[in-house]
């Protein structure tokens, strides 16, 4: 367990070195946040029927999305791991007395956490201070907030488990470009990062509900605004746990399979 703690520590101290990147990230996220909110505002003004989710809820949804972007996007990746696999430096990882899955899971988790810590607080802080209607609002109750926190963390664990398959695929394809594209587009669309899931047509929502992606982003954000009631949120958290268990087991199995066939050539 201590190993994972140390990986996190090391990652954090590394992440702190890139203050300029974090600042630029914050600025970009504000820009995006505003643009998206304005687009939705325009849509809502001319909506013929009442949309299934209120503008207030959408605004919280978007600010949370921007604040926790590194928790929920698939394209936020660890290039070092890709390089490890393609260059053969993985040889060293295999000489360590740890299970590779756990070790890499910790690395990926640490990377997302360290980036998020630098970015989420300034965004959240400022978004509460913004003038109406662009400001972020508090969750309806403390219970909702606690439910949101657990859902967000589980969502993060789930996303790391999903992204692990990306790294496993590189063992076979030797290039991250293809899997990255497929995972990002499909994953992020069905997680509700492009259009919030409640605004999708019913048939698309059905697909999104079956896939694990929406449990990483859409679910926790709607729990926050109270769009998903508390009792449904409880069930949702159980579903998240179920997905997490299945994906971690599957990922571990797949990773152990590919490293048995690994070829480290040259040198």
């Amino acid at each position: 367990m201590k190993v994972y703690g140390s990986v996190l520590k090391l990652r954090l101290s590394m992440g702190m070195q890139y203050r300029a990147a974090a600042l630029a990230g914050v600025a970009t996220q504000f820009f995006w946040g505003f643009i998206t909110i304005m687009v939705f505002e325009a849509f809502y003004e001319y909506a013929v029927q009442t949309p299934p989710i209120s503008l207030r809820e959408i605004i919280s949804y978007i600010w949370l999305q921007q604040a926790f972007l590194v928790f929920i996007t698939m394209w936020f990746r660890d290039n070092e791991l890709f390089e490890l696999i393609t260059s053969g430096n993985i040889a060293y990882e295999l000489c360590r007395p740890c299970e590779l899955y756990g070790f890499w899971y910790a690395k990926l988790l640490a990377q997302r956490l360290s980036s998020a810590i630098l970015r989420c607080f300034p965004i959240l802080f400022v978004s509460f201070l913004l003038p109406k209607p662009y400001n972020m609002t508090l969750p309806p109750s403390l219970t909702t907030f606690l439910l949101f926190l657990s859902a967000l963390l589980l969502g993060l664990f789930l996303l790391v488990a999903i992204s692990m398959f990306l790294y496993i695929s590189v063992f076979i394809t030797m290039s991250p470009a293809g899997s990255l594209l497929v995972f990002s587009i499909l994953g992020e669309f069905f997680a509700g990062l492009i259009i919030p899931v409640p605004l999708m047509p019913t048939w698309l929502q059905k697909i999104a509900n079956v896939l694990p992606f929406r449990w990483t982003a859409d679910f926790p954000f709607r729990v926050y605004s109270g769009h998903i009631p508390q009792n449904e949120a409880m069930i949702g958290i159980l579903i998240q746990l179920g997905y997490l268990l299945v994906l971690v087991l599957l990922g571990r199995f797949a990773l152990n399979r590919v490293i048995r066939k690994v070829v480290v050539q040259g040198g």
Partner: protein, 325 residues
């Protein structure tokens, strides 16, 4: 301690000729060639030995090291190291070994060297007391005092290599695999690395297996050499024996006052000659060194004489030639 029995490993490599047409063809059909990287390799190594593992490029040295360190799975054969099968009991086994791959890096690029060491301490679950003692010793003997606080990206190759070696010894392994540890190092760093390997072998009894292309490494470290070529084991034994088998010749280089008459000494052959200098080669079993020098001083006014055994490099070249590898 280390026992390899009939280890074989082959790689499947996609093959295609150059050119666009061939590239298009390979979209639909791919030819593969099987390359036998290792063929039936067997040897055993006792605790406390330093073994030099040599062979030309592509001979299979690194593949053997990778099999012994549990990274690759061989096609056939068995390997028992300290009672473990490396690729089956990987996690249990690797606690006992340290590995340095000269061409790869295990240190975290962006953080100070010390941070990487601390992480390794936690990965190997080294107790704090033991860690402190080990790290002090490593820093002192490898002269790392000034570099442990710098990020790895700012280190020179020699500094990095010394840090890499330190990193692989933090958990006090019983066996150390070194895959080209002196590649690209300058003379001073090479000597420092060699000295260090000797020290840990003597004082801690660490068994060392090293591959290298620098025969000076082998000469100053290893009593025993294992030679492989094209995946087969060719020689396993003392370096001295190898030298006796091939390296019976000595050379004499003599400088003298200007002399235009070519030198003729029975039992020697001339490697090069000029009016001021001659290089002779002879077999000391048949012609005594003193005799050659006597003859020389009879014929010319000697200024300087150097007698050398055949360099180990030449022996290796001869050996490669003899085995056609």
């Amino acid at each position: 301690m280390i026992q390899l029995e009939g280890i074989s490993k082959s790689y499947k490599i996609a093959k295609r000729s150059t050119g666009l047409r061939q590239a298009a063809k390979s979209l639909f059909y791919r030819e593969h060639t099987i390359i036998d990287a290792l063929k039936d390799i067997s040897f055993s190594i006792k605790p406390g030995e330093i073994v030099g593992y040599i062979g030309p490029n592509g001979a299979g040295k690194s593949t053997t090291i990778k099999i012994m360190s549990g990274i690759l799975v061989p096609d056939t054969g068995s390997c028992t190291i300290m009672g473990y099968t490396p690729w089956k009991d990987r996690i249990q086994y690797v606690k006992n070994i340290g590995v340095v791959f000269g061409q790869r890096s295990q240190l975290w690029w962006d953080v100070p060297v010390m941070d990487s060491f601390e992480l390794l301490k936690d990965i190997y679950k080294v107790p704090l007391q033991e860690y402190k003692a080990t790290i002090d010793l490593l820093i002192e003997t490898l002269e790392l005092q000034e570099i442990v606080q710098s990020p790895v990206r700012q280190l020179s190759l020699g500094q990095r290599m010394r840090s890499e070696i330190a990193a692989s010894l933090i958990h006090n392994p019983k066996i150390l695999f070194l895959d080209e540890p002196t590649i690209g190092l300058d003379a001073v760093s090479k000597i420092a690395v060699r000295q260090f390997i000797k020290t840990i072998n003597k004082e801690k009894g660490v068994t060392v297996i090293l591959t290298t292309h620098d025969m000076n490494d082998i000469e100053s470290l290893a009593d025993r050499v294992i030679l492989i070529g094209k995946g087969s084991l060719l020689y396993d034994g003392h370096l001295e024996k190898l030298r006796k088998r091939f390296g019976t010749h000595k050379t004499i280089t003599a400088d003298y006052g200007k002399n235009t008459i070519p030198i003729q000494i029975p039992g020697t052959s001339i490697l090069s000659w000029s009016p001021e200098r001659v290089i002779l080669s002879f077999d000391p079993d048949q012609t005594k060194t003193s005799e050659v020098i006597t003859h020389l001083s009879d014929q010319v006014k000697l200024l300087d004489v150097t007698v050398e055994s055949q360099p180990i490099e030449d022996i290796i070249v001869q050996l490669y030639k003899e085995y056609k590898i």
